[in-house]
Amino acid sequence: MSTQTLSAPAELPGRIGLAQTAQHSLALAGRGVIKFMKSPMQLVDVILTPIISLLMFIYLFGDAMSGGDTHGYLQHVTPGVMVMAVFQASIGIGASLSADASTGIFDRFRSMPIARSSPLIGAVLADIVRYVACLATLVVLALIMGYRVGTNPVASLAAVALLIGFALSFSWISVFLGMLIKNPASVQGLMTILILPLTFASNVFVSDNKMADWLQAWSDVNPVSLVADAVRGLLNGGPVAGSLAGSLAWMAGVIVVFFPLAMRAYRKNAG
């Protein structure tokens, strides 16, 4: 075991590099993935919510919204529901991290020579399992209901990558709130309120041109609309460049603002 004399000062590195940060984050993401595998019930919400959304919007409101063209509406709504579903799946992380950070295991991480950000980055990355489960469910259901992809596999994969990237970047808002607020239920409640205007005041369910002017102005810059447009373009065909650029700008902006905020709150959280 250990020896009586402590190591000479020069032997120990004093900083943690980027490569190590990535390595630590991946190891901790592995912990999250194992946890999902052990209790798959944690995935029930991300599997059931999109199923209910899609069925409801097509069979309940579809006729009224589309004026009879249910297939056309399915083609319009499916990419949008994908955006909404991964967005909803991305907000759970704040509540679970808020609960996790108050346990001893986070104290252990803080006392170890690993990157401070790695427990948070690891948790964010582990949620990819949730996004994949969510999207896989939606794709299968939509195909059964008659949805058809109008482009090629490469574009489809790009759409999936965009959706997961969108969820990963926007989940930092939830992580920030989770580090700021010690009560997990409040975090979940706040996030739910936050995403409502983003998802419903968007072009997910209604085309922009059916909205009032002020609503359309908001919808045009709404990240949910932009990502939905880009995914529609990538899956159904049509213009992609503008909405994709807008989506990526939003994703970068959210990370630039909320990653440092989340890290600051996490450091303070330690007391």
Binding site: S2, L6, K38, G104, S111, S118
Partner: protein, 319 residues
């Protein structure tokens, strides 16, 4: 020999509450220092500061020569921490927890697995290796917690109340593990509410109260200051209490303390019990209880500080 842990004038405030009020601490390399004190004495705050989990408001400290504020990454490479609350993942198995920590410390997957297996074996946890922690007993959990702190072979180990809430059997198990570490030459800072625990494990004891150091010394020295063991008598008849009190005062030379029918005096002389028993017998007084025990934390505090601990502890020192 150098100091593994050195702290000077540590202060930590939470609003108006002063958790630490200028604490100095020195732990020589390879020694075990026990920090003894009631809840709220500042023990956990001290450990959290030294383990780089929080920063002191004033004062400074170093581990192995590295400043805990300026050089936390180096400090973290030297230390292991077992907190008061299980610092392992409940949903993962014992082996998965240890492998994860090994991976985080930069071990290759195969080495992490080997190290995990070695520790599970050392801590008699091999059978439980595949089970989730949630199914572990309290003692097993603490042993796994200790094992998790040792994956990186730390030179300085912090044990924050390692046996609080454990039954006597589990406490004994944890003590055995700590003794083994000590034999291997680790430097250990141990906090505890139990005088007996500090006595069993530590080379020297520091007593904390209300964020201050109130006493320090070798266990034997402190116990002598406290008066060693305590003789405790409970007369069967309440009416006999005054007579027994007089008898105890006469035999021990101390005036006895009395609490709900139980009389206690410091027992400087090991033969006191026999003397008291003979006299009680001679006077025809029956005692429900007569024996020696170690002083409780309250009594240690009373002897060292002249007052009861700031926050009373619900569990007295085990007999």
């Amino acid at each position: 020999m150098g100091y593994a842990i050195r702290a000077e004038g540590l202060v930590k405030k939470y609003g108006d509450f002063t958790a630490l009020d200028g604490v100095d601490l020195e732990v020589p390399a390879g020694k075990v220092v026990g920090v003894l004190g009631p809840n709220g004495a500042g023990k956990t705050t001290t450990v959290r500061i030294l383990a780089t989990l929080m920063r002191p408001d004033a004062g400074h400290a170093s581990i192995g020569g590295y400043d805990i504020v300026k050089d936390p990454v180096r400090v973290r490479q030297l230390i292991g921490l077992t907190g008061q609350f299980a610092s392992v993942d409940e949903t993962l198995s014992g082996a998965e927890n240890l492998v994860l920590i090994g991976r985080l410390l930069g071990l290759a997957r195969r080495d992490a697995k080997a190290r995990a297996a070695e520790l599970l074996e050392n801590f008699s946890l091999t059978e439980a290796a595949r089970k989730p922690i949630a199914t572990f007993s309290g003692g097993m959990r603490r042993r796994l917690d200790l094992a998790a702190s040792l994956v990186g072979r730390p030179q300085v180990l912090f044990l924050d109340e390692p046996t609080t809430g454990l039954d006597p059997h589990a406490r004994q198990e944890v003590w055995n593990v700590v003794r083994q570490l000590v034999a291997d030459g680790s430097t250990v800072l141990l906090t505890t509410q139990y005088l007996e625990e500090a006595d069993q494990l530590a080379d020297s004891i520091t007593v904390f109260d209300k964020g201050r150091k109130v006493a320090e010394g070798r266990p034997g020295e402190l116990k002598r200051r406290v008066g060693g063991q305590i003789l405790q008598v409970r007369p069967a008849m309440a009416a006999d209490v005054p007579q027994v009190a007089q008898l105890l005062a006469e035999l021990s030379g101390h005036s006895p303390a009395q609490d709900s029918g139980v009389l206690t005096v410091p027992a400087d002389d090991p033969l006191l019990v026999a003397a008291v028993a003979r006299r009680l017998d001679g006077a025809g007084i029956t005692a429900d209880e007569l024996g020696l025990r170690l002083p409780s934390l309250d009594e240690v505090f009373l002897a060292l500080t002249g007052h009861e601990p700031a926050v009373a502890d619900e569990q007295p020192v085990a007999v």
